[in-house]
Every structure is written in C-alpha cells, then in structure tokens.
Amino acid sequence: MSQQLTKTLGMAGQIDMNSNKIVDMANGTASTDAATFGQIFTGFQAPVFAQNSTDFTTTSSSYQTTNLSASITPTSSSHRIRITVSGVIRTNGVTEAHLTVARGTTDLATGATGFNRFTGVVAATNQRCPASFSFVDSPATTSSTTYNVRLKNDDNTGTVGFGTASTQVIILEEIV
C-alpha cells in the first residue's frame, strides 16, 4: 500500500519520507542558510588530459609554443582552472631553459624565467632534467580556453628542448 509520507514545512521545501529526501528547497542565500545540492554541485566537468611524445626544440629567447596544449570550457566564470604540467626539459650546451604555461598568449608566470628553470653547465652536450609544476588560473570566462606550454632560452643563442623522447602531460581541472 502506497503511503503519502510527506511533511510540509510551511514553505516550498518538503521532507519526502518515501525518498528520504528534503525536496523543493530554495537555494540558500545567507551564510547560515542550508545549501541545495544544485548549489554545492555546480557541474564541474571531468579533467582535461593531453599528452604528447613529439620533441620540441627552439633557439629563441622569446617564449615559443611547444607541442603540448589543452583546452577547457569552464562551466562558471567564477571557477578556477588547476593546471598541471610535466615533462623533460633539455639544454644543449651552456644555456638556460625556461618553461612556462600561457592562457592563449598570456604568460601565467610572474617571473621572467617561467615556472621551471634549468641551467645547462656543460658545453655541446645534451643535458636533461625532469620538469613539473602546477598553477591555479582564474580565466573568468565560460568560453573555451586554451593553455599551451612554452619554452625559451635565456641568451637567444643556446638550444633548449621540451619532451626529449619522453611523454609530456598537461592536465586541466575545473575547481572552485
């Protein structure tokens, strides 16, 4: 026998004992209000994952886009994007490799040497170093946003690389 076990709270919200849920609640608006499921779970998408195993090399001292990039479309302009990058950087000779990530063409690192800096100290020799970093960006948009990993040297002469026969990875995660 079906029973209607619903208790009205004197407002739109109800305790539905058939489903063991409080239903039809309005969104909380003050810090002391209860939050609805819709307010708590705001529709984050699955993380975006991209990998690349093609080597990249440059001799430029201005940032050059490597083979590694990924795009994400935030579900809210107030959400942030956690960016994780890993790979291997290389210097050929005595030079510095600077690795960064850019949103479009905007470098997200505040320093001139990016997020990872590797100094080659031996002439005419390939020197490799694991490189990884994370960053939280606030793109303030719900449009598709592309993040690309960029590389440069410090002297406009040396040869620097990213990848070097190993897999490079970028992960983008939408967070509050």
Binding site: T57, Q64, N126, A165
Partner: protein, 46 residues
C-alpha cells in the same frame, strides 16, 4: 633521423640562427630568422 640528430644538422647548417623544431620532419622546422634562409631538406640530410 632522430630529433636530436636533426637538431645537430640544423646547428651545423645554420649556426647561430633562430628556429623551432616540432618533430623529425622538414615540415616541422619553423624558421624564425627572416634574413637568413631556411636550410633545404638536402642540406639537412633529409
């Protein structure tokens, strides 16, 4: 030819020049120095 072998060939053909290499093919070589010409595939041994 590996990526690093191609890098060595470019450095030998045009020392001190500016370029990007995104793989192991001639097409993956992006030339950044306007006055200096991009080496030919034959110069690079491709």
């Amino acid at each position: 030819m590996t990526h690093e072998q191609l890098v060595a060939a470019i450095l030998a053909a045009r020392p001190g020049s500016h370029w990007n290499l995104r793989g192991t093919t001639y097409e993956s070589l992006e030339w950044l120095d306007a006055p200096e010409t991009k080496p030919t595939a034959a110069e690079l041994g491709l």
